[in-house]
Symmetry: C2
Subunit: 199 residues, 2 copies
DNA sequence: ACCTGAACACCGTTCAAGT
DNA sequence: ACCTGAACACCGTTCAAGT
């Protein structure tokens, strides 16, 4: 883990984050303790505090780091098919880093997938005919749907007898199609349920 | 906290769960430590282990206990309006117990809101014309949407300048309307995006 | 200026010992 | 049979002390 084999490698923020991400990817977020991280970096625990304020900031940096490598779907024939492809990619990407959704869900961190990606999604939605406000709401709805499906991967998993393990990805894609068709339908949302009970 | 003021109250599972829920409701899940719980019950930490296996089981019991008091919407004119009312109720109920979503998201627990409530929702969806399999998928989609919106309450909350705190409930209701209209539209989901790329 | 070991105040869990 | 205090192996964080 030393960057200079001969001498001592100075600790850097990016080096800390890279090692932390490796631990979290390999063994989950609970394995990422400051003691473990320091040991992996060949230093003492208290040395980390010279570069990060506390564990919360480490997790924030970890999420920011991941957000930079978020996937974005290539151009596509229709907005609908681009959106479906893009949010399937997002699911697959986050499914490979389960710690990310857990960290977001812990409530300490605020994250929404960087800056560029959600803006691009909103642009496609506006191009598809949505008002700007509705496009932002739709981005948040899609993001929260992904998050819910990633975090609740084991629900309804009938323990007694426990036969049918659910295909989580297929489940998500079904929900994604439903949400997208609701978002993109002419006239937009807010017509499903009651008449005027929007408070 | 003693049930019999004169003598010593015997510890019971339900008593433990009730006190645990009170702590979690009042101060959040992090405040619910076994030491704190034992102290609140007027006993020692190790005494708890005579009634629960470990902290994981305590959280499971806590979720089961909450699931029993889940709300269910009264009968309504149309399936669509019942579903909207019901899932708005579910959001409001869970928003009052933020620890529940966090516990589910931690991955240790499996929960889906009890037994009766999701079955009733599925019945309404079938009555609205969905196939049985699709009704189950729709229940999971709606549940995961609630979960995502509850857990990700602070996202996109622009820190720099930080003006526009999002109205989370309104955000959720917008997403709910979109998802419901996608679920209930004739022909059902799976037609939004590409042609046949359902893998 | 930068790093460190030892300590502090926690945590869940266990276990020999009490009644 | 039921409960308990003390201990164990952790955690994040702090701080006086080193170079």
């Amino acid at each position: 883990m030393r960057s200079e084999p001969g001498g001592r490698s100075r600790l850097t923020k990016s080096g800390i984050v890279a090692t932390a991400r490796a631990i979290a990817d390999a063994e989950g977020i609970d394995a990422l303790t400051l003691r473990r991280l320091a040991h992996e970096l060949g230093t003492g625990q208290s040395s980390l505090y010279r570069h990060i304020a506390d564990r919360r900031e480490l997790l924030q940096l970890l999420c920011d780091d991941l957000a930079e490598s978020f996937p974005i779907a290539p151009p596509c024939s229709t907005p609908a098919s681009w959106l479906r492809t893009h949010w399937a990619l997002t699911y697959d990407f986050l499914a490979e880093h389960p710690w990310a959704a857990q960290v977001i869900a812990s409530g300490e961190i605020l994250a929404g997938g960087g800056e560029d990606v959600p803006r691009r999604v909103a642009e496609v939605l506006v191009a598809a005919g949505l008002a700007v406000d509705d496009a932002d709401r739709a981005v948040r709805a899609l993001w929260n749907l992904v998050l819910g499906h990633l975090l609740n991967a084991h629900p309804f998993g009938h323990l007694d007898g426990g036969p049918p393990l659910i295909d989580c990805r297929a489940d998500y894609l079904w929900a994604l199609d439903a949400l997208l068709s609701g978002i993109l339908r002419p006239g937009c949302a807010a017509a499903a349920g009651g008449e005027g009970q929007h408070g």
